[in-house]
Every structure is written in structure tokens, then in C-alpha cells.
């Protein structure tokens, strides 16, 4: 029972991170029908940029966090401006290949700038409550909630979950209660018509990229806190998050959030109880199963060939 609870928590924390990334995929897809393969790499850049701000420029963590989000938002908008916007009316395939190209460039750029060696945020630069530790000699637990099975739930993981929930609610409000949110929804329904109605679609798309990238950046920093930072992190986490977006019905933001949690839980329970060798494959299996059984996703509208 204790094990079940622990695995559940493991899955929730992982799922929260997937949800944050998945939203970025799904928002862009919803609005310009493009699988933005580069989104995983933006997530990775978020972590590296925050690391650079903290270690090279000695900026405190609480400032580096929003600064990295801002930089990633700019990066996302830049990618849209330079690479995707000129291809808006080109065949689908061109944009998809461009997205792969950008993903390749960003990933290998990171490898060249920061090397393939894994990095961590230096402990002394982080706020104290984010650094959890178990002292092996004394059994003393620092900044964490003890769990019944002997494990701990670090405050860091609680923080990640809370932050994910807050950001998700915020995003939901933004999309359903603000003017820009309304414009985004309009563009998602029909871009040409929205343009005719006087909505500046290019601006709306840029904002979409910015929001998705900023959320990706924050997810990257969270992963940097609890795991580590490597040039390939965007690829692995990105794929799982993408599966979450497909599961939730690609283009559907609430679906992506729930999809993220489900993929996180499925991955953890699959690895814990079925076969750990196929841990990363679980996301792919779910992804393929969804496409075979219900292509519009768990929460998407049935749209047939439209999507």
C-alpha cells in the first residue's frame, strides 16, 4: 500500500511536468496545425538558460526563473517568425521538416555550447526549501515530508506540483476569460475567417508560441531541480509530453493537462509493475493505441480527417 502511494506520487510529479510541456505542443497544433518538434528543445533551453543566468551572471533563482521564461518566450516567437511564418501557406510537410530541422539545430547547439555532460543547479544558489536531503548516518530528513514506506516527499516535488496546477488554472483563465484568449480560440477554429474578422492572426500565433515556450521553460527548470540538465532531456521528455497531447486530443488544452497526468502515471506504474525495460515505450504504445482506437483523443471532439 505504501508502495502504491509512493508510485502514485512519483507519477503525479512526472505527470505535472509532462502536462506543462504538452500544453505547448497542443496550443501550437490547435492554432496552426503544426507538430512543433522543436518544443522539447525549447524546454531544454529553458533549463540551460536558467542555469547560465544563475551560474554565469550570478542572478538569484527567483529572478532567473521568470527571466528564463521570458527568454524562452522570445526564442519561441523568434522560431515562429523566422522559420514557420514564411511557410504558413506551404505544404504541411515543409513546416514539419522545418520543425525537425530546428529541433536538430537547437539540440546540437546545446551539445556544443554546454557539452553532453549532465549539469545541475548548484545547491547553494537555490532557495533552501528546494534542497531536500536524507542524512544517511542520522536519518535526519531535510525539507521533505516523510512517507509511510520510509521514503520522503521533498518540498521540491510539492512545489513542482503546486506550480503546475497554478499555471494550468492560470492558462485556463487566460484562454477563456481574456480577449487574447478569445482571439486564440477564434484562430484555432478558423484562421482565415479570424483574419477577416480583424484579428491579427500572426500576433495571436506569436503569443501562442510565447505562452507555450514559457511554460516549457518552467517545466525545464523543474526537471533541472529534481533530475538533471542534459542536451537530450528535451527529446525524451518531449516525446512523452507529445504522447500526452495526443492522448488528450491534440489541440485540446484541458485534454493535454489530463493527458500529461495520465501518461506520467502510466509510465510510473508500467515501469514499476509491468516491465521497466519498456518504460519509455509505454508513452509510444499509448500514443499508437489512441490513434488506432480514438484518433481525436480522450477529450477531443470527433473530427474525422479534419485534425
Amino acid at each position: 500500500m505504501a508502495q502504491l502511494l509512493e508510485q502514485f506520487i512519483n507519477g503525479l510529479v512526472l505527470g505535472g511536468i509532462y502536462a506543462l510541456i504538452a500544453v505547448g505542443y497542443t496550443m501550437v497544433y490547435g492554432i496552426i496545425q503544426l507538430i512543433n518538434f522543436a518544443h522539447g528543445e525549447i524546454f531544454m533551453f529553458g533549463a540551460y538558460l536558467a542555469l547560465m543566468l544563475i551560474t554565469v551572471f550570478n542572478i538569484p533563482f527567483w529572478i532567473a526563473l521568470p527571466a528564463s521564461m521570458l527568454l524562452c518566450a522570445l526564442l519561441g516567437m523568434l522560431i515562429d517568425l523566422v522559420a514557420y511564418r514564411p511557410l504558413r501557406d506551404a505544404p504541411r510537410l515543409s513546416a514539419l521538416i522545418t520543425a525537425i530541422g530546428i529541433s536538430l539545430v537547437l539540440q546540437n547547439l546545446a551539445r556544443m555550447i554546454w557539452s553532453a555532460r549532465p549539469r545541475l543547479f548548484p545547491t547553494e544558489t537555490l532557495p533552501a526549501f528546494l534542497v531536500s536531503e536524507v542524512n544517511m548516518q542520522t536519518g535526519e530528513i531535510l525539507n521533505a515530508i516523510p512517507l509511510p514506506g520510509g521514503g520522503i516527499l521533498p518540498y521540491r516535488d510539492v512545489f513542482i506540483l503546486l506550480l503546475a496546477v497554478v499555471l494550468m488554472i492560470g492558462l485556463n483563465r487566460l484562454i477563456y476569460l481574456t480577449k487574447i484568449g478569445k482571439a486564440m480560440r477564434a484562430c484555432a477554429q478558423n484562421r482565415v475567417a479570424s483574419n477577416l474578422m480583424g484579428i491579427k492572426t500572426n500576433q495571436v500565433i506569436a503569443v501562442t508560441f510565447a505562452i507555450g515556450s514559457a511554460l516549457g521553460a518552467i517545466a525545464g527548470i523543474m526537471v533541472g531541480l529534481s533530475e538533471n540538465i542534459t542536451p537530450t532531456m528535451g527529446y525524451y521528455k518531449g516525446v512523452a509530453a507529445f504522447a500526452a497531447a495526443v492522448l488528450g486530443g491534440i489541440g485540446n488544452i484541458t485534454g493535454a493537462m489530463l493527458g500529461g497526468i495520465i501518461i506520467g502515471l502510466a509510465e510510473v506504474f508500467g515501469a514499476g509493475y509491468i516491465s521497466s525495460g519498456y518504460r519509455l515505450a509505454i508513452a509510444y504504445i499509448i500514443m499508437i493505441a489512441v490513434i488506432v482506437i480514438r484518433p481525436s483523443g480522450l477529450f477531443g471532439k470527433s473530427t474525422g480527417t479534419r485534425a
Partner: protein, 332 residues
């Protein structure tokens, strides 16, 4: 492509036919000169042949991928999946079960074709984006199956060793020049088939699907059937390449078939210009041998060796932006 017996083509043909002899001939000249202490920078005919054979395998794969990506306009992110299936089917049959290459190769192709159809089936009624996702997922799944299921290969990480070379009436085809003619024959066969398909009713139907699926459907083209045919032919060619590489490399393991290999083949097709057989081959010849051409030059700053995929990425972006038809002269 109006082929004529021009002098240029005859020379090219002769060059292709006698390439191994040319390579060994240069070897002899270099040997002769080295007796007088004259050393040319010739890296050796066997090595050159090996590069050429490998580029030939990539040409085969690029032509195969071009059928799905170029003709029907669907993005295949997991083409390496068939390469893997072909390689391991042939490899396991030959190395572990002692089946002759001449039987193992057709079985590998058949096996690949079956998976090509199965993989494409769920996406037939959906748009290309879903196809891209499924292809990616399939390739990663197969990669992990070979890696995890040790009983299949008999060693960890899909490390399959000692795949025997094909024999024919007591002659063992294990030399590089054997493999050169071997891949040349396979490539000619594949190009002939694809060329005939491209210029038939089938090829025109594929292009119609690429340009506008709904219009094609309403013109009476059975979209599902033609798409399935494209998946099957493409998969068969990929598996053929895999079957060949298994005996060529003698020992294979899963890193041969990772995701980046799919991307590399895709880059070849895009570089050459999607929808053109000749373009796919040129793209494969360039990217398939680029790494070796650059090898002596890149030996000093090792960091730049890592930049290879960065450069590929830039190539993809620039081509899509400024020249979607790639290097080929034909407008795609």
C-alpha cells in the same frame, strides 16, 4: 528522364560497372609509386569501396523513403524501422538458424512489407500528422523490442554477430567488390521498379493524393489502396536494405538503427528534392559519404564532429524555406 545512349551515359555506365577494378587499379599505381618513395594521399581501394557500398545502401533507403515522403507527401519519421526489421530478420535467420541468404533476404523483405501495411493501416483515414506520429512510435517500439527481448537475438542490445556472407556454388561473397556488385544489382532493381511505378497509373495516383487527397478521392482514386501500396513498397525496400546491411556488416546491434538514422535518410530525400528518384540518390550519395570525406579535415577540432547534425538541421530549414525542390532541377 529520357535516357539515351549518349557518350556521357556510356562512360558513366562503364565507370559504374568497372569501379572496383578502377579502385584496385589505383591501388596498384599507388603501390608502384610508393616503391620510389612517392606517397599519394590515396586511402586505399577497399576503404573507398566500403564507403561507396554504404552510400549505395543509403541510396536504396532514400529511394524507398522517397516513395512515402516524396510521392504521397506523408512524413515518415521512423523509416529506420524497416531497415531494422530487414536487418534482424535476415540476420537472425542466417546467423542463428542457418538459413541461406537467398531465402533469408526475400523473407526479410516480406516481413518488412507486412509491417509496412500494419503500420500504415490505422492512419489511412487520418491526415499526415498522425502518420508521422505513428511512424515515430513504431520505430522506437521496434528498437526497444530488439533491445529488451534477448531471446530473439541471443545477446544484449541486439548484438548479433557472425552473420555469414552469402554463398553461391561454393563462392563466398564477402569481399568489398562482391558487395559493390551486390548492392548495384539491388539498387538497379529497386530503381527500375520505382521508376516504372512512378511513371504509371500508380505513380500518378500517388501524386494526386499528395496534391489534394479529397480531390483525388472524388476523381475516383482509391486513396486507401494507393497509400497502402506506397507503404508496402517503401517498407519492402527498407527491409531489403536491412537484409543487405546485415551480411555486409557481419555484426549488427541496435544503435545501427536509432532515430537519428531515420532523420539522416529523411535529410537525404529532402536535400535531393522530394519526389525525385534521382534527387534521392544524389542526396544519399552526398550525405552518405560526407562524413568520410570530411574525416581527415575534421580530425583536429573534435567539437566540430559533433556539429554534423547541427549542419543537417540548418540544411533542412534553409531548403524548406528557399528551395523546397532540393538540389534537383525539377520543381517538386
Amino acid at each position: 528522364m529520357k535516357d539515351k545512349l549518349t557518350r556521357k551515359n556510356i562512360i558513366l555506365g562503364l565507370l559504374i560497372c568497372f569501379l572496383p577494378l578502377l579502385m584496385y587499379g589505383i591501388d596498384d599505381i599507388v603501390d608502384f609509386l610508393s616503391r620510389y618513395d612517392i606517397y599519394l594521399g590515396w586511402p586505399g581501394g577497399e576503404y573507398m569501396l566500403r564507403i561507396i557500398v554504404r552510400a549505395g545502401v543509403y541510396m536504396l533507403l532514400a529511394v524507398g523513403l522517397n516513395i512515402v515522403c516524396g510521392f504521397t507527401g506523408l512524413l515518415d519519421l521512423g523509416y529506420v524501422c524497416f531497415y531494422l526489421i530487414g536487418g534482424y530478420t535476415a540476420g537472425i535467420l542466417m546467423a542463428r538458424l542457418g538459413v541461406s541468404y537467398w531465402i533469408a533476404l526475400p523473407l526479410a523483405v516480406l516481413h518488412g512489407t507486412v509491417w509496412g501495411l500494419l503500420r500504415g493501416a490505422p492512419t489511412l483515414r487520418l491526415t499526415g500528422d498522425y502518420f508521422a506520429i505513428v511512424t515515430f512510435g513504431f520505430a522506437e517500439l521496434f528498437f526497444r523490442i530488439i533491445r529488451n527481448e534477448q531471446w530473439l537475438v541471443g545477446a544484449p542490445n541486439g548484438q548479433l554477430r557472425g552473420i555469414p556472407a552469402p554463398t553461391f556454388f561454393g563462392i563466398t561473397f564477402n569481399q568489398n567488390w562482391h558487395n559493390y556488385y551486390h548492392i548495384l544489382i539491388l539498387l538497379t532493381l529497386v530503381i527500375f521498379i520505382t521508376y516504372r511505378l512512378q511513371h504509371s497509373r500508380v505513380g500518378r495516383a500517388w501524386v494526386a493524393i499528395r496534391e489534394d487527397e479529397q480531390a483525388a478521392e472524388s476523381m475516383g482514386i482509391n486513396v486507401s489502396r494507393y497509400k497502402s501500396l506506397a507503404f508496402a513498397v517503401s517498407a519492402a525496400i527498407g527491409a531489403l536494405g536491412g537484409g543487405f546491411i546485415a551480411q555486409f556488416q557481419v555484426s549488427i546491434s541496435v544503435p545501427f538503427f536509432d532515430f537519428w538514422e531515420s532523420i539522416l535518410i529523411l535529410c537525404m530525400v529532402v536535400l535531393g528534392g522530394m519526389g525525385s528518384i534521382r534527387g534521392a540518390m544524389i542526396g544519399a550519395a552526398i550525405l552518405g559519404s560526407l562524413g568520410e570525406v570530411l574525416r581527415p579535415g575534421f580530425i583536429i577540432p573534435y567539437q566540430f564532429g559533433n556539429a554534423r547534425y547541427l549542419i543537417f538541421g540548418i540544411i533542412l530549414i534553409l531548403l524548406m524555406r528557399f528551395r523546397p525542390s532540393g538540389l534537383s532541377l525539377k520543381k517538386a
